[in-house]
């Protein structure tokens, strides 16, 4: 597989997995405006994923298609950040049931959107012309995603004691997963060397500034942590991705080659 194809799959998997997660709020949002907002964010992410998978299919050649890449690859094939596949709640033991927590959704969307405004901005200069075009479109969309999640982060963080405590807990839970952003994988390094990709590690200072600025306004404390760094972009995932893909892929796998 070419460096470009692998890199496109990494970006596409990120978008489709978070798009699928946000879509879980469709019909379950805390208020109707937020239900619609997250469905729209999902729509953007799934649209971005489609464009990226289409380009990956072109780069891979053969008879592969965007649908095959999204629906007929398995957990170890997916190159998304582990952060994006986690359920909408803080960590629980495996068999525990829990309601979805909107604060967790907001914190995750904020942390990821803050990264992607920087990534898409840089990728507008990609040597891959189609990727540069996708970046220019996606940048406009992710700016709105960042604005939405940032506003809610502040509203919840600087809100009631209850909302503050819950969104702080979500931040404590999710922040360690962002460590995965900062060590370039072989796929990313190859794409950077080819002039196609961007070194995410080089964006860290800007991301820190964006995050710290919002956390200060939200009266939230950035958690300190150390330990295991997740490896989703290397194909080593949490237990949650399998459940997500099973649901997302079930229709396509039950009716292969179906058209409508």
């Amino acid at each position: 597989m070419s460096a470009t194809a692998n890199y496109l799959l990494h970006l596409a998997d990120n978008a489709v997995v978070l798009g699928q997660r946000n879509a879980e709020w469709c019909g379950h949002g805390p208020v109707i405006e937020e239900d619609i907002a997250l469905a729209n964010v999902s729509l953007d992410l799934i649209g971005q994923a489609r464009l990226l998978y289409q380009q990956a299919a072109v780069a891979l050649g053969g008879d592969t298609t965007e649908d095959k890449l999204a629906y007929f690859r398995d957990v170890p094939d997916f190159r998304n950040y582990t952060l994006l596949e986690l359920p909408h709640r803080s960590a629980l033991v495996g068999y525990a049931k829990s309601d979805m927590d909107y604060g967790t959704t907001i914190v995750r969307n904020f942390l990821y959107s803050a990264l992607m405004v920087l990534v898409w901005e840089a990728l507008q200069q990609s040597k891959d012309e189609q990727l540069a075009a996708i970046a220019a479109k996606s940048l406009k969309e992710v700016r709105y995603h960042l604005r939405h999640s940032r506003d809610w982060l502040i509203r919840l963080g600087d809100g009631t004691d209850e909302s503050h405590a819950r969104v702080q807990a979500s931040l404590n839970h999710l922040m360690p997963y962002t460590e995965e952003f900062w060590t370039d994988s072989n796929i990313e390094s190859a794409a950077v060397a080819a002039g196609v990709g961007v070194s995410v590690a080089s964006l860290r200072a800007q991301w820190d500034a964006l995050v710290d600025d919002a956390l200060a306004e939200a009266t939230l404390v950035r958690p300190q942590f150390e330990g295991y760094i997740t490896q989703g972009k290397h194909g080593l995932h949490s237990e949650h991705l399998g459940f997500l893909l099973t649901e997302m892929q079930s229709l396509a796998r039950a009716h292969p080659n179906a058209t409508w």
Binding site: I36, A37, L43, I46, G47, L118, A136, K137, K140, A209
Partner: protein
């Protein structure tokens, strides 16, 4: 049909047929006025109609493609629809006539944030910080009042936000600058 029509005539005929083709979700404006219909040209295999998506996930793109085929077929033309991503669609391409039609339809038209941002090289970071400053008021398309508030960043379609007028109390859609 293409074989008997001169390419230049075919292009002109296609433009004439597509001129009034409406957007499937906002039927008061045409695809050309919205800037979705970019070009009609002679490709290697005949006529090509170039369209560009508004948002990446715009679900109307399939419908738009079908509408283009149907419209051209009705006047005896065949064409290939080509989807082009660059340059990325922007609300700045929307004509003044289209903006007025949107307003009359009850949708507040987009402002010019995008063009301004690009010209000054305004960075993403400044865009975000700027959000803390008061944004230009979006006038109510019903009564014209600037006394309006945003109910939600996201409205009935990806390209719109939901607003409410504090004077006439009517809710309305705002076509977001993009």
């Amino acid at each position: 049909m293409n074989t008997v029509v001169a390419p230049a005539d075919a292009i002109q005929a296609a433009w004439a047929a597509l001129e009034a083709l409406a957007d499937p979700e906002i039927p008061v404006v045409s695809l050309r006025e919205l800037g979705i219909l970019r070009d009609v040209r002679q490709g290697a295999d005949g006529l090509e109609v170039v369209i560009t998506p508004t948002y990446s996930g715009c679900p109307a793109m399939g419908q738009i493609e079908d509408d283009v085929y149907t419209t051209l077929q009705a006047v005896g033309l065949q064409a290939k629809v080509v989807t082009q991503l660059a340059p990325a669609w922007t609300t700045d391409w929307m004509t003044d006539i289209a903006k007025e039609k949107l307003r009359a339809y009850g949708i507040a038209p987009p402002g010019q944030h995008c063009a301004k941002g690009r010209e000054t090289g305004e960075s993403v970071l400044r865009f975000v910080r700027g959000a803390a400053e008061p944004e230009p008021a979006v006038p109510c398309p019903h009564c014209g009042s600037s006394h309006t508030v945003e109910s939600s960043h996201f409205g009935s379609t990806a390209c719109k936000a939901l607003y409410k007028c504090l004077d006439c109390q009517e809710p309305f859609d705002y076509f977001k600058p993009y």
